[in-house]
């Protein structure tokens, strides 16, 4: 490979580069974690508590051990350190003394066949003494603690300006958000292989290899270097793979049996085995001048974190910091409380606390516009936040944040053309009975914004390694590819900087430094930034070796490879103070959505017809992938608006299957038209912003606003149910 400086590469930054794993995925050859196999492999299976709250008096594993083909049955007694957690170690690996949610693992089994493992779990006798589950988050605040660490994960107050100030126009409301599930398609899976050095190798589907590695090592009592994690193919994530699921169980079983152990969750177990989006109850009161300029904002947000903390602490911060939406608010009082209950644990999901807040603040902005007699889009424009303005936390926006631009661009998009009537296109589809004469159309508009990267002083740097050996470029980074296309981006960056066509993306593992989590819309900037920095350093080395001559990459690396490892960090952020003030966030992205829905109010049926969106993307690095993120994120927002909710009754999930937990099919998903607003983010690699979360944030309130417009129903709760529409 001989390439000169200035050679135009194909598949560089800004182009429609194709995924390097695309062909293997369409051929069915791509190895997802659940596809792995090893000689002598056993199957692991967890026994989970059917009760939301109980004391565990005894666990009798003898009947399970007596089953032919069962190799190990482990309980709390077999765990070296029986405590783990994403940010705070408050969750037992296997329950001891008590269980705090329905689905909590009590024992794990390794057997020679998955059916044997399931039968063994069924044979374990657990003596539970039932207690009353604490399932009301409001009551949990003052109730007797159900965990030594207490019931309140965080109680955050933000005070800004004069908290007693009021404008003459006042609107208030209370809103509820149901428990949404990430519902990625590839259930949790991993293969743990015991190693000759006393350690263990784990190939697993995850969002953050290094954080998992540390938790596994702690719980097994092993040095971190004896626990090596590699990324197994990940079938989607959306936040649900930030927390450890089967990792520690699989490693414990592998070490105990001395054999490889594979665990693959069923769909039912997946619904119990990962965190969900926090259900929330939100009260808000806005006041404004008669012309609609915001004067004050008050909010009280209660988030049900379920039995263990996971990321509740930071979900609460996001719900509070962005509670008012992308609007200028001079005076505010916000309180966000995340609590522990005996409900299923909740944590990260795409949008991370802001989805809940946005549903409430956008309903309020519509009410405020109507109360002021101002057009709803105009009201949002009047108050639109921009660079130089301050957040509720007093932080001044320094990067790009084109809120007014996304509002104008989205509002200006053409409405969908009338389609010929077809049963399949009516609310409810062909299987229902909506008559065209009964169908009403509505249009709704919403705007949202969110922080990118981790916050409140947490430094989530990313490490990348670039090696050029005999002209072959290999880039390594531990960033988890979960479907979003980071692997494509790595190639695009390396091609652009090094001016080569072929770039090998090494499989992510813990042999190099952490890349941080694939979450918070951060990998494009953080790990993209690390890859860019590594490639630039490699290029500088090549140029030094060339000494002003032509950059012949093969020749320059024929005898001695170029080998550089770098770390990329974002700027320092700071904790929030006692008044919730501080420069806690790195940067921000916004989007606007306009939804068109058809509703049959008598039957309570909704069809989401069209979503128009304008999104702040910084700079488009790959139009194909940006479009994919926007369309996919909107589908999840639509799902929350009209169909997705885990139904929890007395702490027990009642619909842990795709038969009863519905996600949008191709017939439910709207047509999406998107305008990409490119205003480069200063300091970000190529000016790009993460694009994954904004589509999921304001799409939900836009759909619900459209349903309100079609029906006149208040719809203060998502998902909107048929009974919310029947008037």
């Amino acid at each position: 490979m001989t390439l000169e400086t200035g050679t135009r590469v194909t598949g560089g930054i800004g182009q429609r580069a194709l995924r390097p794993d695309g062909i293997s995925k369409v051929r069915g050859e791509f190895a997802f974690a659940g596809d792995l196999w090893a000689e002598g492999m056993l199957w692991g299976q967890a026994l989970r508590s059917p009760h939301a709250a109980a004391r565990v008096r005894a666990v009798d594993i003898a009947p399970a051990l007596a089953i032919t083909g069962v190799h190990a049955v482990l309980t709390a007694d077999d765990v070296f350190v029986n405590r783990y957690g994403l940010e705070h170690r408050d969750q037992p690996v296997l329950a001891y003394d008590e269980v705090r949610y329905a689905g909590e693992p009590v024992a794990v089994v390794a057997a020679d066949h998955p059916e044997t493992a399931r039968r063994a779990c069924a044979a374990i006798a657990v003596d539970y003494e039932l207690t009353d589950p604490l399932v009301d988050p409001e009551a949990a605040i003052g109730a007797a603690p159900i965990h030594p660490d207490g019931n309140v994960f965080r109680d955050l107050v933000i005070r800004r300006g004069d908290v007693d100030a009021r404008g003459p126009v006042v609107v208030e409301g209370t809103y509820e958000i149901g428990m949404q599930d990430q519902a990625f398609m590839g259930p949790e899976a991993g293969l743990a292989v015991p190693a000759g050095d006393g350690g263990v190798d784990l190939i697993v589907s995850t969002q953050w290899l290094h954080n998992d590695r540390d938790q596994v090592a702690e719980c097994l009592g092993l040095a971190p270097e004896l626990v090596r994690l590699s990324l197994g193919g990940v079938g989607g994530a959306f936040g649900a793979r930030e927390d450890v699921s089967l990792h520690i169980h699989a490693c414990l079983l592998a070490v105990r049996t001395g054999r490889p152990v594979k665990i693959v969750y069923s769909r039912g177990e997946s619904f119990l085995g990962h965190v969900h989006r926090h259900p929330a109850r939100i009260w808000m009161r806005h006041s404004a001048t008669p012309r609609g300029d915001l004067v004050s904002f008050e909010a009280r947000i209660v988030l049900d974190g379920g039995a263990y903390r996971s990321s509740s602490y930071h979900v609460a911060a996001n719900a509070a910091c962005f509670a008012a939406g992308p609007y200028r608010v001079p005076n505010a009082y916000v309180r966000a409380i995340a609590v522990r209950t005996n409900n299923p644990p909740c944590g990260a999901m795409r949008g991370f606390g802001v989805v809940q807040a946005c549903f409430a603040h956008e309903a309020q902005m519509d009410r405020l516009a109507d109360a002021c007699g101002v057009d709803r889009v105009e009201l949002r424009l009047r108050n639109a936040l921009g660079p130089g303005d301050e957040l509720l936390t007093g932080q001044r926006i320094e990067g790009a944040l084109p809120v007014a631009d996304v509002i104008r661009a989205c509002a200006a998009m053409p409405l969908p053309e009338a389609a010929p009537d077809d049963m399949l296109a009516r609310p409810g589809g062909a299987g229902r009975t909506a008559e065209p004469a009964d169908v009403r159309r509505g249009t709704g508009f919403a705007v949202g914004f969110k922080n990118l990267m981790y916050a409140e002083g947490y430094m989530d740097g990313s490490v990348a390694h670039c090696r050029i050996d005999n002209g072959v470029v290999t880039v390594s980074c531990a960033a988890a590819e979960v479907g979003q296309g980071f692997v494509t981006l790595v190639q695009q960056i390396a091609r652009t900087i090094l001016e080569v066509d072929d770039v090998i993306v090494a499989p992510p593992d813990t042999s190099i430094g952490s890349a941080g989590s694939t979450s918070a819309s951060r990998q494009t900037m953080m790990s993209g930034g690390a890859v860019e920095k590594a490639c630039r350093a490699a290029r500088a080395e090549l140029e030094a070796r060339a000494g002003g001559d032509r950059l012949d990459v093969t020749m320059l690396t024929a005898t001695e490879p170029v080998d550089v490892t770098v770390q990329y960090d974002h700027r320092l952020t700071h904790p929030l103070d006692a008044d919730g003030q501080g420069d806690a966030h790195v940067s921000f992205a916004c989007a606007a959505h306009r939804a068109v829905v058809d509703v049959d109010p008598e039957l309570g049926l909704v069809r989401v017809v069209h979503l128009a969106t304008a999104q702040d993307v910084g700079r488009v690095l790959n139009p194909l992938q940006v479009t994919g993120q926007i369309e996919g994120g909107i589908a999840q927002g639509v799902g929350l608006a009209v169909m997705e909710e885990l139904i929890v009754e007395d702490g027990r999930v009642r619909n842990a299957s795709f038969t009863d937990y519905l996600i949008p099919t191709a017939l439910d998903a709207p047509t999406v038209d998107a305008v990409l607003i490119e205003e480069p983010e200063p300091g970000a690699p190529f000016g790009a912003k993460g694009v994954g979360e904004p589509p999921t944030i304001s799409s939900t309130p836009a759909v619900v606003a459209a349903i309100r417009a079609a029906t006149g129903a208040p719809c203060t709760r998502v998902p909107v149910r048929p009974r919310d529409l029947v008037t």
């Binding site: 695309g22 062909i23 069915g28 990625f184 259930p187 079938g235 296109a425 992938q625 099919t665 191709a666």
Partner: protein
């Protein structure tokens, strides 16, 4: 409980020995025959990730007992294209080129569903495509690029691709 039976998969006879007869076709394909292309997304016929063709009919392999598929022709995603590295059918290629693949877990099942659709309806309308793939859940894409892939595949299908 165990005996030997033979499945005809992608044109080859494959013996299944010492297997529990309660195993699904999906389990046998994935765990006994080394064909993991069909995915286990829900194991109750809701997600379509395990779609295969049974005598040409699109089925969820998780809902078919393997032993009941004796005497049928089973086609999996691995049997769609020539074996050589990188080869792809028109549908597969269209999925890659339109951005219809993200995490890719639903992809083999969707590819099977789209092949089956275009076999019976070479120029389907948008709603016909949506209906035909509505048994295949995708959580990443929102289906926009997949619908685009079907349009492209309908146009290019029949053209020899490698």
């Amino acid at each position: 409980m165990t005996e030997m039976y033979v499945l005809r998969v992608n044109g080859e006879d494959r013996a299944v020995a010492d297997a529990w007869l309660g195993e699904s076709l999906l389990y046998v394909l994935r765990e006994r025959l080394g064909l993991p292309g069909a995915k286990a997304g829900c194991e109750q016929g809701e997600c379509g990730s395990c779609s295969v063709l049974l005598d040409g009919a699109l089925v969820c392999a998780c809902l078919v007992l393997a032993a009941a598929a004796v005497g049928c022709n089973v086609t999996t995603v691995e049997g769609l294209q020539p074996a050589e590295r990188g080869a792809a059918s028109a549908v597969q290629r269209a999925f890659v080129e339109t951005g219809a693949v993200q995490c890719g877990f639903c992809t083999p099942g969707l590819v099977m569903a789209v092949e089956a659709l275009l076999d019976r309806d070479p120029e389907p309308s948008d709603l016909a495509v949506r209906e035909a793939i509505s048994g295949n859940l995708c959580r990443c894409t929102g289906y926009g690029r997949i619908l685009e892939a079907v349009v492209v595949a309908a146009r290019t299908r029949g053209t020899v691709t490698t």
